[in-house]
């Protein structure tokens, strides 16, 4: 298993509480190829957002982030280049999806109030903290257990399975 840099720094986008999977990966987008589907994340909540988000950005959400379906929203965030998800509280299915798709996700109570759009966040997945580099506010966050960091280090559960000989993975788009 390759070692992973557990620190991530990126520009912040904020969303509110209870943003559901229907708001991130609507049914009509499920009929599209993944790169096209990714253009509809937050289609109603923040129209035009997928044109503004840049690789390396971080999404900071409120409570109960990702309530809803098992549809792999995390894959869309990855295609948009989002480097990490941070929330006051995650729906556990959504959190697992993120990890399994190789997208770091950190639970940080107080995060929503500590950031506004355009701020820069620095976080550490293994040590469990997130910092607003502009204001200096630093919050403790739930550090990810080693098993979860192992999945992230492999780039997600499918690359991990491929490494273990369960499948041959096509080149990632």
């Amino acid at each position: 298993m390759e070692l992973m840099d557990t620190q991530i720094t990126g520009r912040v986008w904020t969303v509110g509480d209870a943003v559901s999977t229907d708001a991130m990966y609507p049914a009509f987008a499920m009929q599209l190829p993944l790169p096209e589907a990714a253009r509809h994340v937050f289609y109603q909540l923040r129209p035009g957002w997928t044109e503004q988000v840049r690789p390396g950005d971080i999404v900071v959400a409120g409570r109960n982030f990702g309530l809803g379906s098992s549809r792999p929203v995390a894959e869309l965030f990855r295609l948009l280049g989002v480097a990490a998800l941070v929330a006051e509280e995650f729906n556990s299915l959504f959190l697992r999806n993120a990890i399994n798709h190789g997208l770091p996700a950190l639970t940080a109570p107080g995060a929503r109030a500590a950031f506004t759009d355009g701020d820069t966040a620095r976080l550490d997945l293994a040590e469990g903290w997130i910092e607003n580099t502009g204001t200096g506010t630093r919050l403790s966050a739930g550090a990810l257990p080693p098993m979860v960091l192992g999945i992230l280090a492999a780039g997600g559960i499918l690359p991990k399975l491929a490494h273990e000989g369960y499948l041959r993975l096509p080149a990632r788009t």
Binding site: D22, A23, A27, Q44, L93, L161
Partner: protein
């Protein structure tokens, strides 16, 4: 320290004497259920899998295939089932919404662990099964390895007392709980108490299913006499499973006592079910454009029976569409034999193929801008069933059927035949 139902099952499958909240465990999974969507996106055939006898495939979300992409997924599902010898393959014709198919075919057994690609997999908690929805990548991993990991979450217990009135369904009980107590994010839900005996299995399944809407991890019910006789009827044969009961000294994050006899039909307002429902007597008598009875939560035979009883001999109001989706092909056939479908269609309902279609706004029964829907399905989230400018209210099949007759959200007790 004693264990809750979910702690007992996860400890058992992790090969541990006990587990405690916060602990991360690796569990052997008894049954892994793949759905059609799994094959339509991101499917790569595995080189080897753990055990084809612990796998089932259910075609449900997009059947018969509405798009070429979904049809291509079907091709891959059939190839996979053939190549790996998966005999539990519920293809179009013996299909249904996976949670109904799981129940009909005894795939969820008391005291065991079940994983499936759909978020409403917690439905099988009605049968004392530790069941939860997992993403397609994780379900694929379980298919390969036979195991996955869980972090033991705290459990909230609902202790039912009193006797459920006949006019109050599982949907009404759930909407009352969701409306009163709100979300249970990162918690398990456990149901029990002396009042539970008055809650039949189909209502328990509605309640267990909708744990997803309050963001819970697992929902579980005990394997009491009502549950055991259901399983014996549904899947006759050796009951070679071991049920999981909670210990008397199990630790709960909260114990909430609910008197079922005091409840009345409930309606959730659009947007969320959490802290967003009211008794039907207190809700606005909003006009409705579409009424929907179906889904894993409320497309069961008993749901169609009650809807048929409400509309029998009457007509759906002008300007209202009533859609009815049986939860499985088996339910469809049984409801046809029993005359429920005839009664519903005579009243003006459209009976659809068994699928998840309308519930998740994928391939039929979508809503247009400005429309109002009253649904008995699983989610009233913005944009769930089509236009984000539509409003989705949620209620029991009886309330939906009664409202289809009047064209306004209506107390079913006033329209009961």
């Amino acid at each position: 320290m004693g264990m809750t139902v979910i702690e007992r099952i996860l400890a058992r499958r992790a090969g541990l004497a006990e587990v405690t909240v916060g602990q991360t465990v690796v569990c052997e999974v008894d049954m892994t259920v793949l759905i059609d969507l799994q094959f339509a996106t991101m499917w790569t055939p595995p080189l080897r899998i753990s055990d084809p006898d612990r796998v089932a495939i259910v075609m449900d979300h997009a059947v018969p295939a509405p798009t070429v992409g979904d049809a291509a997924g079907g091709v891959k599902a059939r190839e996979f089932a053939r190549e790996f010898g998966v005999s539990r393959f519920y293809d179009v014709g013996r299909h249904g919404i996976c949670h109904q198919v799981i129940a009909e075919n005894g795939l969820a057994r008391p005291g065991e662990l079940l994983a499936c690609t759909d978020s409403h997999t917690c439905a099988a908690g009605a049968y004392n099964t530790a069941a939860r929805g997992l993403g397609p990548a994780e379900v694929y991993a379980i298919l390969c390895t036979g195991t996955t990991w869980f972090q033991i979450a705290p459990t909230i217990r609902y202790e039912f007392t009193g006797t459920r009135p006949d006019t109050v369904s599982g949907k009404d009980i759930f909407l009352h709980l969701a409306g009163t107590y709100g979300d249970a994010t990162n918690h398990n839900l456990e149901y029990g108490g002396p009042g539970l005996a008055s809650v039949p299995m189909h209502d328990r399944r509605t309640i267990a299913t909708q744990g997803a809407e309050v963001s819970a991890d697992f929902s579980t019910f005990p394997a009491d006499e009502v549950c055991r006789s259901f399983i014996a009827r549904q899947t006759p044969g050796a009951a070679d499973w071991t049920a999981a009961d909670p210990d008397p000294d199990a630790a709960y994050a909260d114990v909430r006592t609910v008197d079922l006899s005091a409840l009345e039909p409930q309606v959730a307002r659009p947007g969320s079910v959490s802290r967003n429902s009211l008794p039907v007597s207190a809700i606005e008598r909003r006009r409705v454009d579409q009424c929907f009875i179906g889904s894993c939560a409320n497309g069961q035979l008993e749901d169609l029976a009650i809807a048929a009883a409400v509309v029998s001999g009457r007509r759906v109001a002008d300007g209202v569409r009533l859609l009815v989706t049986p939860a499985s092909q088996a339910v469809y056939r049984e409801a046809m034999r029993a005359g429920y479908l005839q009664t519903l269609a005579d009243a003006g309902a459209v009976i659809t193929n068994s699928t998840c279609g309308a519930c998740f706004g994928y391939h039929m029964g979508l809503l247009g801008p400005g429309e109002v829907c009253l649904t008995s399905s699983t989610r009233n989230f913005t944009g769930r069933m089509g236009s984000p400018e539509a409003e989705i209210y949620m209620a029991s099949p009886a309330t939906v059927a009664a409202s289809a007759l009047t064209g306004r959200i209506t107390d079913p007790r006033s329209e009961w035949n």
